[in-house]
Amino acid sequence: MKIIKAANLVFDYIRRNEEGEVEDVNRALDHLNVEIEKGSFVAVLGHNGSGKSTLAKLINGILLPAEGTVWVSEMDTADEERIWDVRKTAGMVFQNPDNQIIGNIVEEDVGFGPENIGVPTEEIWKRVDESLRAVGMTMYRKRSPNRLSGGQKQRVAIAGVMAMKPQCIVLDEPTAMLDPNGRRDVIRTIHELNRSEGITILLITHYMEEVIDADRVIVMDDGKIVMDGTPREIFSRVEELKNYRMDVPQVTELSWELRQRGVPLPECILRKEELLEALLPLLKEE
């Protein structure tokens, strides 16, 4: 089953002068088509300005397409009467955790969403409990969000989205502002939500190491999807990726460089363990 379908999507950022005449049109999405399978973990790569964030905002109904349609669980995001259902179904987490947290204590912040849509109090507390547990932040529930680290704040933001009982979470570079520890915690958390709660994940990122465990990787360029496949398929095309201003994980790069120079290694190595396994027999002395 598809949870997200986008057909022939076009979106333009239009600049107008003081008289309201169009001065400049910047096409962010150019007849893009994509379908996302329910329960899958999809990573979206692409350089700054390739249209990733615009796509994310269209899925959540923050922006509406100029042409084409987005369906979230069969609901058209342009249907004003369904917009709140769309946002409940596809929650969103942004880059800067400080811009997303409003509560004075963690549990209040997580309960804000459901309270806003009139969920009964008892049910709110149940959801807060479950969401905090899901992101591993239960022990911080009475703390002030200001005193948390970046990674912890981001997990609180994710809990806030979870409390809306979404089927899908779109995360727009959730780890860009975090240190290595925070990054690892957030990525582990969203994989856990995907695995145990069956939440569909759409992860936008610039960190190649965060992508290798995804079910599917999409690469965007110029408002279109230019590569689409499993991490192994995508990262085996090193030169093509570099053309799109992307990178590959360090072990993949090292294996690729060694292969280029005639070292017999398997085609696309994504993990340290794979590289060690392939290299050791070659390096051991007879």
Binding site: N48, E173, P180, M208, Q250, V251, G262, L280
Partner: protein, 287 residues
Amino acid sequence: MSIQAIDLSYTYGQGTAFEQHALRHVNFEIKDGEFVGLIGHTGSGKSTLIQHLNGLIRPTGGDILYQGKSIYSDGYSLRELRGKVGLVFQYPEHQLFEVDVFSDVCFGPRNLGCSKEETEKRARHALKLVGLDESFYSQSPFELSGGQKRRVAIAGVLAMRPEMMILDEPTAGLDPRGRDEILDQIERLNRQHGLTILLVSHSMEDVARYVDRLMVMNRGEKVFDGTPREVFRHYRELEAIGLAAPQITYVVNELRDQGIPLDETITTVEEARDAILGLLEKRGKLK
């Protein structure tokens, strides 16, 4: 000539119940022309430290010497210091505000009291240093790409003609190519123009590739200070304080654990590639 931190300490909320020691007796000297990296997890004191270096915060203990003189001594011009020690904050593009790129870069030198002619000369030079040609001058800074905006912001600091530049995570949120472009640019400023650089980063891969010397902060203390190769050799201790070594260091160390004679201080893909190729060649396994 250098910038020196002497027994630098800073306590937030001193004397209150919320007292927090952000810096504890930090000592170091950064010499002119050095390219130094600064790493540490969130809350380790990095930001507090760099705000001291151009006098934005007054320490609760210790001193900062710039070219041998205490920046907190009577009559010392902090305004002048800030022209010499340029600070590029995180997400510096949030501080762009002028109608076009050129005016934005002119803001700094004009504020320092430069003549119109000198201001424009500096702005042109600074923009050239970050690789933005005249076609960008009249563009609105808000319509540039993420990497371009950041370069404008860096040019704004360069136009003050600093002797040292401190950059707080200058590549956060940039795509891989944009990241490489900015770091290459910074490297050129250091190598070709002799600018002293202090680079704060969360990316171990980036510091391994670019800096000559690496300082590591933890709980307000400086815990390591050396070349990246020396520092990353302590990767197990780095992990214990919430950091890590570049992925390559782990690969090399696990190979070493299996008895493969590789240099334990390898930190970059290129070094690992050459070392492995050399070994294979020696064993006659490379056609």
